[in-house]
């Protein structure tokens, strides 16, 4: 029995060795062929280039976020939380409508309701957030802008959590869940309650948010 086991182990070992041995035959390379093994006989120039390529590849991979990060696809209204290339959370979102609103009394100035693109960081994590309505929210509804700041506060419309990523933009909840998957917001990113809680749990202050 012992000899049989030993023979099996030896055969496995030899098979692995043969299968992984470097191929020193010249490789006919065509544009459609994918060849990863370097040819041993090639000159130092190619070897230096290969080494440089591998070093640069490694440097580029080191720039990738090592912690979980948030990815937002504004065209398809999707939010993902990814960690080391794997999707940890996949949510339907609502992002900026791309519409414009003229600023009253200023012919040259307007608000553009886009979700900003690029890389951002989670700057704040709030629970039970209250929306402080900006000027455009009143103007859009055809109302006058209140002078009293207290009249701007609207609790309960942003869900249980909000993650701020700068310049007044937040990832937050919504009362209008039927509009998820559509470009309807003023630039913020809306999620349903379950996904919002998931993102809030996974993200920390400093978590990267990449929006495209």
């Amino acid at each position: 029995m012992g000899r049989v086991l030993l023979a099996c182990a030896a055969v496995t070992f030899l098979t692995v060795l043969i299968a992984t041995a470097p191929d020193t035959r010249p490789v006919a390379s065509t544009s459609s062929q994918v060849v990863h093994r370097p040819v041993v006989q090639d000159g130092p120039g190619l070897r230096a280039l290969q080494a440089k390529y591998k070093t640069l590849s490694k440097q580029l991979s080191q720039l990738k976020p090592s912690q979980p990060y948030i990815l937002v696809d504004t065209a398809r209204n999707r939010l993902y939380v990814k960690h080391q290339g794997e999707v940890v959370l996949n949510a339907i979102a609502s992002t900026g409508s791309g519409t414009i609103l003229d600023k009253p009394g200023d012919d040259t100035s307007q608000w553009i309701f886009d979700t900003p693109r690029g890389e951002f960081l989670v700057q704040s994590k709030l629970t039970k957030p209250t929306w402080i309505k900006p000027d455009w929210a009143f103007i859009e509804e055809g109302l006058g802008v209140p002078k009293d700041a207290a009249e701007r506060a609207e609790p309960g419309v942003l869900g249980d959590y909000a993650l701020g990523f700068g310049k007044g933009y937040f990832i937050h909840g919504t009362l209008y869940t039927r509009l998820l998957g559509k470009n309807v917001t003023h630039g913020c990113i809306r999620l349903n309650d379950t996904d919002l809680k998931g993102v809030y749990t996974l993200a920390r202050v400093g978590t990267p948010i990449m929006i495209y």
């Binding site: 692995v16 490789v27 040819v39 390529y53 696809d73 398809r76 791309g98 519409t99 509804e141 990449m210």
Partner: protein
């Protein structure tokens, strides 16, 4: 006769060795920036290192950028070296290879017709969507490069096919006439024409922002 404990040790060693051999190539592959690179072709490796040197500069900043890979026939939207989105290229043609090096900053992109909100009208106003994006457009860059994005007509849609082909020929005719009377041959223009599906052309138009950097990985078959 080998004692039983020695046999077990040897088998454990073989198992560890087997695991090591099986997992090592996948580590290396993860680190490679271009999995489709032919490492035996010096021109391909040189081009890949040139692109990587440029990409490292872009990936070090908190901005998204575009990598047009003419070897892998793919447009990648990237940030920090991470691929955010990709779109396949159906076909491409290029005016001058040399002028495709470096990173190119987008200075002009297609106009998007935005809807204006009428105060007090609420939900009646339609938001912008991907289908509002243009599919046939030119992108101009600070380096002088122009990228013509040409949509591929949907199968069976003859009218669309004729319209797209007509536009492409009109563009080529305009380019050709602009070189008449100059010493420069038309092929020396820094111009790249890429054909993608209508959806991907619209998706690219959506993803681009002013000042965005674009890198091009050239094919070794040039």
């Amino acid at each position: 006769m080998i004692p039983q404990h020695a046999q077990i040790r040897l088998m454990n060693l073989c198992a560890i060795l087997l695991l090591f051999v099986l997992t090592t190539p996948s580590w290396g592959k993860d680190l490679e920036a271009f999995p489709n690179l032919n490492l035996n072709d010096p021109r391909s490796v040189k081009e890949a290192t040139r692109v990587l040197e440029e990409e490292l500069k872009l990936a070090a900043r908190p901005h998204t950028y575009v990598l047009i890979d003419l070897v892998g026939n793919t447009i990648h939207i990237k940030g920090r070296g991470v691929e955010l989105h990709h779109m396949p290229i159906v076909q491409w043609s290029v005016g001058s290879w040399e002028k495709l090096t470096g990173n190119h900053r987008l200075v002009a992109r297609p106009q998007v017709v935005r809807r204006k909100i009428e105060p007090g009208k609420g939900d009646e106003q339609e938001p912008i969507s991907l289908t509002d994006m243009p599919a046939d457009y030119d992108l101009s860059f600070s380096s002088g490069l122009t990228i013509n994005v040409v949509p591929l007509a949907e199968k069976g849609n003859l009218a669309q096919g004729i319209a797209f082909m007509g536009k492409a020929w009109w563009r080529r005719l305009k380019n050709w006439t602009s070189t008449i009377g100059t010493d420069q041959p038309s092929t020396s223009a820094a111009q790249l024409e890429i054909t993608v599906s209508v959806d991907h052309a619209q998706s690219l138009a959506w993803s681009l922002v002013d000042g965005m950097a674009v890198l091009i990985r050239r094919s070794a078959d040039r």
